[in-house]
Symmetry: C2
Subunit: 316 residues, 2 copies
């Protein structure tokens, strides 16, 4: 972007996907200038966003546009939030125009996984690739597809739902109504469910330190695995194999050059990445596996906000 | 295509995917003018193609180009056949230039499933859609993806391998090396395997007329199902459910507006199409299912040859 005065525009990205609202102010090349974290309530969404934007604009008058990652389905033709588990319909109806009115900025809204994928593509682990598939593994499993540099969202905006491909026709029921979805075994809460079932079945005394505290999380499991707890390690490895099975299906369908894996479950690092890659290698067509790189995401919890800011930049 | 003389050019398409070579001469709008079927041997491939082309050019001097559907992986940038189970490497090395030299025509070569998909897209069941996924279910299960009117073949030309997505992590071993691929339960030979296993397990006397003849095919099974044989009907329905499971995964990943199903197994008609659609509806995200049409292919055994001719037309 040319700017005769020498000061390039900056862009603001906000992630509304968690209980914490995360804001990143980034340069036009995607470098983070400043970060904010704020607690939000659904019914004060717009006013909170407006407050944070105002504060940042006071100190950075060059902010050119705002991107917002939304936990729900967004139709970018109409700029409407079509569906969201987290935002009540009364809140989401006119969200886009409300954000514009309240902030005085041009606003782009996008599904959170799509925004994260775009962030990883432009400035993160996907940089340099033409096509990329992004998988985020946390409380749920989401995904997004980028083809030729653009988000490819399909006929009605839902493309990329890798968490809901069937990997076991006889598997347990998923929240989505299907059975045996990848998400039913590999999301954070389902890792904990599987671990608890196993501890329960086999008796807990000698199996794992985890059994001492019944209310453990997937992050605790990863932590114990890193500390050498064999049971936790096995659970993480098996989870990686499930994810690798899903990744292999994506590879065989799309022969895509890069798979980027993000989300809280990937905080386990190589303990989970290695079995993912191993299983994908076992299950995918050899030329599909050989043509791809399977890597961990690079932007961590900033992926959605940075991606949203980059979407705001590129929609200009 | 404008042609001041009033006689539009025609295009030739050849399908080399079976033991029978199928040739279609089509108008520039894809209507079939003439069909040929010839037996071929792999070591006389080029001379046989040249012979058929010569005969047809003698009576149709307006043939502008030739498209050939090949049972193997084709790199269309280099016009080379990379891999093929059916064509020995000695034969395929310089196939493209040999075809050009022997026929005197401009020649386009393409993978057979890709050619069939393109045929269905341009003049068959996919007509009018922007994006389409094609599945062919026969001795194996193949597929191809068309996005924005173009074959989307991925990083190394392998995209669309829906037959090798995992639908059962614990399933039986597939020829591809993976376990539990869709192909291991739903291809023609695997339908027969499953039926035989079931007949063997349950005793054959009262189950089905098929047991009388041990050497039945998937087509025989479909035929008996059409005649009201309950066992055959059940086998076809279960096969449809497996295919529908794969279709649901494609829908959730790609949110694609049209799925076209072809190949010999689809000759069972509504007996298999209905359970496919039913299972896809059960398993796919509702908005993904609602945004799609799942239909039977329209071009039958001409799909590859017509599609190859249309690829020759559009590469001009």
């Amino acid at each position: 972007m040319n700017n005769p005065s020498g000061s390039a525009a900056s862009f603001l990205g906000i992630d509304l996907s968690g209980p914490t609202m995360r804001t990143s102010l980034v340069t036009s090349s995607g470098d983070v200038i400043e970060r904010r974290e704020n607690q939000i309530e659904a019914d004060k969404l717009v006013s909170k966003v407006a407050e944070v934007v105002k504060e940042l604009r006071d100190s950075h008058p060059d902010i050119a546009a705002l991107g917002i990652g939304i936990p729900g389905l967004v139709n970018r033709q109409t700029d409407r939030v079509i569906a969201s588990r987290d935002l009540p319909s009364t809140v989401r109806e006119e969200l886009h125009s409300e954000f514009m009115d309240a902030t005085g900025l041009r606003v782009e809204i996008e599904n959170d996984a799509n925004a994260a994928a775009y962030g990883e593509y432009v400035v993160g682990a996907g940089r340099g690739s033409r096509d990329m598939f992004y998988v985020t593994i946390g409380d749920g499993i989401g995904g997004a597809l980028i083809l030729d540099g653009k988000l490819w969202t399909g006929a009605s905006g839902f493309a990329g739902e890798v968490g809901h491909i069937t990997i076991d026709t006889e598997g347990i029921e998923c929240e989505c109504g299907n059975m045996g979805c990848l998400e039913t075994v590999a999301s954070g809460p389902n890792i904990v469910r599987r671990a608890n079932e196993r501890l329960h079945r086999d008796g807990t005394s000698s199996l794992s330190r985890l059994a001492i505290n019944k209310n453990f999380t997937a992050a605790d499991l990863a932590h114990e695995a890193n500390n050498g707890d064999d049971f936790s390690l096995m659970m993480i490895e098996r989870t990686g194999k499930y994810i690798g099975t899903g990744v292999a299906s994506v590879l065989n369908l799309l022969n895509i050059e890069k798979i980027v894996l993000g989300g809280g479950v990937m905080d386990a690092g190589d303990l989970i990445l290695k079995p993912i890659i191993q299983e994908a290698k076992q299950r995918a067509f050899q030329p599909c596996f050989e043509a791809t790189q399977i890597v961990a995401a690079a932007l961590g919890p900033d992926a959605v906000s940075i991606g949203a800011a980059m979407l705001a930049r590129d929609a200009a």
